[in-house]
Amino acid sequence: MAKDDATIGNSVAELEEIVRDCKKKPHNFALLKAKEGVVLKAHPLKSCDVMFRAAKDAGGLPAISMTGTMTASGKTLEMTVTTDEFPANLPKLAKKHFMSMKLPLKVVVILPNGQRIEDSDDDGNVEVTEGNEVAVAETVAEAAQTQDDPDAARKAALANRIKAIVPQLRDAAARALPGVDKLSKAVQTAATEMANAGLDRAEKLIEAVEAGLRQLAGGGNNSGENEAGLREKLVQEFSVMGGDLRTLLQGADKAVTGKVTSLIGMFKAEIERDLKKSGQILSLLRNMATSELAKAQPGDTGVQPPTAPPPPQGNDNAGGPPQGDGLAGPEGDGAGDGNIFKKIKETVKGVFGGKKTEDTVEGGGGIVGDVMSLVDKISQAVKDGLGKAAEFVKDNAKLLAIAGDYPEAALAAQAALQDFDETLGGDIEITPEVLAKASEDTGAAKTLLSDAQQALEDANAMRKGGKRNKAVKAAQKAIADAQAALSKAQAYEKAAKGKKVIEDAITTGPLSPNAPKKFSGGGALEIIKGASRDPDLTATALESVRTGDHHEAVAGNLGKMIDLKDAGFTDGTSTMSEEYSAKYADQLLKMGGSVGPEYFDRIDGYMATGRQFGDDPTGEAGSGSFGELEQRRTMSVGKAMVKDDGSVDVDSDEAKGAIGDALFNPDVLSNPRPALSSHMLKTVGFLKDPANATKAGDILKGVPEPTDPNAQSLVRRATGKGDTDAVDKDDVRNSVMASMLKPLDQGPVGSCFSTAPTRRMRETDPLGAMGAYAQIAGTGKYKPPFGPEVAVVTNTPPGDDPVMRSWEYSLATSTAQRATSSTKASLGSANNAGLTTLSDAIKTKNLSGNSGLPPEEQKKKQEEEDKKAALRLTKLKGDVAAAFSFIYDPMDEVKDSNDGSSDRGRYILKLLSPEKEIRKKEDFIEAMTTVALASLGIDKDAPEAATVKDHVKSDAFINAVTQVFGAAKDDEYLPWELGSGGQTTEATQALHGATLSQTQMTAGAGKPPPDEPTRTKDLLAGFMTGMTGKTDDMITLRTVGMHGFNALPNHPSLDKLKGDTQTKRDKAMEDNLLKPGRDLRDTKVPVDKAVEMFMKELQPWLDGAKTPELKKAYTDGIAAHKPTAPVTPAELTAAVKAASKDANKIRGDKDAADWKKGKTDKGEVVSDTDFDKRKVEEAAAYEKVLTDKLTQRMMTDLGAPEFVIADTNWGSGADHRFFVIAPDPNTGDPVMWQKIVPPGSLIKVTRDWIDAEWAKID
């Protein structure tokens, strides 16, 4: 197989190998002219595009190239080209080059229609076709130099003139000016003459063409437009001569330089006054340059790459920088800014040269050549004075606007846009209609090609003979024609899309000056280059960049993704179709944008394995739910990572292959789970550390054979085995690893109070979580570090990971036991305090008549009685403790008397015998009395029972119980109304530390609550104070009565809000949240950006409008309210509201009518009032959808500062949600949002979240 290493040129060995391989089977090839000879790249599988780039990387010049398929036979290379339009001299150049390498090879070119073009030995026989005149002329000129041709300079000058003529001819042709055909043929003839050493004839022809062009530009009328056009052409011709003139001024004698300088001055003076005269002066200049340069020895002066001389400006340079002779280069000594441009050029050289992805810098042509030319133009515009500079700036405003951040990208964009315009036939506006038409044309061309291919297939299947031969040839011809048409259509569409992508990116998109995310210079450049190569994929990249967190990784890997796509994601054996490659690349790029750099890093290795062509490698086909799918996916990876002895190896081929399957396989990407992929890679990264791998291996090696029925049940379901299938410890290990590879979210089900602490452990102590999984799957029991052991819960939801869910649910049971115990302890303390007050009654009731006894006996009896009473009390306390238990009612609601807020879930005291729930004070008194009398052995109706009864209901007893933890109202303990709350605190204690306790950070908002911005600030202030000095990555939080989740005290976004004193924190909040919020509110969004955002919201609704009335409402609204000047965010929101108002009403009315019909059909009556109300509500709902999305877009695109305060627990393999505080761009006020990652969208939380009491458990 031929090499495809990106080396400069070809080695003899490589060429020999190519020839040898091409004798065995056809190769796709690219043949490019190089500075010296040619570069040939060929490969049996990789596409021509890939070969083209490889050849370009190896020093080939893209402007002179041909591609197609190649075979070799003997000493003949047969190159079947993809288009008729190939540089006719290139095969000959190749032959010469091969010969120079002692490889005598004949090159035969076969056109798409089957015509064979064989090279002759006549070096002068060069075919010139339309479009390759410049290449031929340049080749001739270059060949002249390398052969020490005395006419070298003249040939170079002629080549330059042809180069200047061709774009003018194209322009004239585009405008269908009369006679342009003849002029085109004359240029072709001139190029042929040049190739055949007919320089005089060539020059005359060129002069004639130039004159003809001037005439065409004059157009027989004196309109200002034509005059301007002619002036521009003369200036262009003058510019083309720049290199020659500079050479002359640097190397010729004084007499010549004097004349040249004088002529330049004259030209500059006349260009604004007399075009005819200017043309004559130009002709003189040209002749002088040609003849003078011809006198010089080739190589002494050489012909420099063309650089632009000063555009003639007349007197416009007044007040501008020093002019010098007007011909100094961009680094010229006259310009104070010369070094800037030199630096830019150096940067460009570095970027392009270093990566070898484009032309060499000095090679001319291609992007780099254009970039260099642009640098010269900028430099010169500055030198020539403010007027010209201003004009240049105006023409290139968008590019220059980004040049500050991305100079090289700006220059590359300029070059790319020029290329696009050339393909598009001018600087056309890329409207949706243009894109639609281009897409339609490409589609039609594809259909044609497909039909032709089918025709060939049919013809090929015919019985052999003349009819078949004829049909085959006709079909081949049809294919060639269709391919040519398709190439043309695709090139046009690509240019249109590329132009749109670049313009959008630099005007309003991620590369625009105000874009919130900044790229490295290289990243920005990669996006521009991507837009030139594959605008569709680049558009995907830009959307990913806009909302995602990995913009630099996306930009940096865009080129690689395009390379892979162009190569059909080949493994060297199989290749994907062009259509699927595009789709697959898009899926991979989106996923990479969500997951991050490591995703991209692994792609190459995976594609080399060929596993991308495997079907369902993860065994997830047919999954009935996403939970099941994720279980199967992670199980396939988990198995591959665990070795037979239980040790963990994430770098084995098996593991890498399975990881790759789960990340990249096309079947897997049919159901993308970016959050799962992110978590998987994070876990793999963790286990890559040898210390972690060893500890993980120890855990897995330590799992027992699963003999416990509950463990067996969980492991069977985790591994997908049948209800009675045998399971062993390998299955346990695989199940544990599969659980480790999944993010632990509350998911569609679950319980926040146990999810919060388990997620916290999984995120901050992965090995602790692994130990829990191993315990559950291996033993069927689970004992949290600070809670009682329980037989695990096996009733887990279908499809979900049974081991992971069992951890959450089993923790809940253990927590309940633990909480029951601690609640009992509290009750015990309270009851004991109360019962102690009974001691006197217990002691004294049997001492009646004691006073009549002698003192010693009295004392002895008193002591005995005290002892008995003490024992009775001890027994009583024990009996009371045993008499009560608790039930937990998760739905029981308790109101906070302080602020009126409510909380759900609490323990309820229960008397065990007879069973009774204690929900009132009277219930408690009655139960305590009953237990006390029974313990003391007193009949409830006996006279002495009265003492006990009276005491239990006395204030002394009740106060002793209720004030056991303090006399303050907040400390009150009511056994009949136990404290409320979910079990987040207890669950956190069970898992993370028995001594952790709940502390309020921000009290509930109370009634009436403060306004939302004030409350949000208070909440954030309380949060930041509560998190001050915390080093944990997560701290469990409660919005009391609502939810348990985890704070992220060390999220990088919070760094700006931190401070060790309240004053510092207040200032940090003002500087980094409140003030930026106000600035955002007051910002004037540039009109381009405002229109883009306005249309992005409304266009989809317009496109989706099904009735003419609705369509008209949108169209009219858009026309009436589209921004025409910079607007604030609130003004933009108002514009969107106004533009959609009528349409929303139409939609609202219809929905309300549907609603009414539904009600009426059910026999219900809808009043007019309700109907009208419904209409308004429905319309408002549509408006809200629009404005919410707009707000989100403004936050993302205008760069609202976001502070991620907490992880909600909510998520799935697809995404995860965070609590974020960020300013609303409409008001500038801080607002709390849920942020969904990916894609990074924001949803405002409801008011109850910020009004709740926020507490931490640490």
Binding site: R463, R468, S623, S625, T794, A881
Partner: protein, 206 residues
Amino acid sequence: MTDGIPQVVLGVDDASQSVVIVEGDTEVGSLAALVAAAPGLLHPDAATSMARAVAHFASGTDYRVITDPAGYEASYRAQVAGEDPGAAWKAGVYRLRDHGMPDFAGITAPAYQGTRLVFFAYSAPIPLPYRVEVDVGDAGVTLGPDIFRAVSLTPFPPSGATPSPNPQFVGATGVPVTPTDAERAARKAKPALVVEDVGDDDAPEE
């Protein structure tokens, strides 16, 4: 020997610590002191009294000793029978079916195996069974909650029900896509058509 079994009463002292009152007049606060004060508790017939005392010292009233295995079984089965077999797990609701069914044959009344006391207990808020094995002859034995070891259970078939959906969940809830064979086949590039032997237009038909 029933007559000779020391009388013990479980109590709580002024410091809220678990104590045992022996024969109505001696209060002890540890297993060693209890054995010293009432060695008769080591008699096989005293196993239940000893088990109660051990459980009391170890965890107060968190676990209750199963003295009547048949009664416990009946109670357990009754509770299971009252639970909906089709119900999903629910936060804050503690159901025996979520955990499973014990092998009741293995749950016995307190008994001695030499000096080792073996008994079963159940927890709150749900009466899951626990097994305890303590060498009461070992003066250094430590009694704490960890002596209660969960008994293995046999799971009920999962209910198959999905718990109440979390209203905040926004992940995909539909059915995953499985690519068809045709879709998979269409991913690969078609091999180029091999056209051979294209001769003259007037060649005779074979």
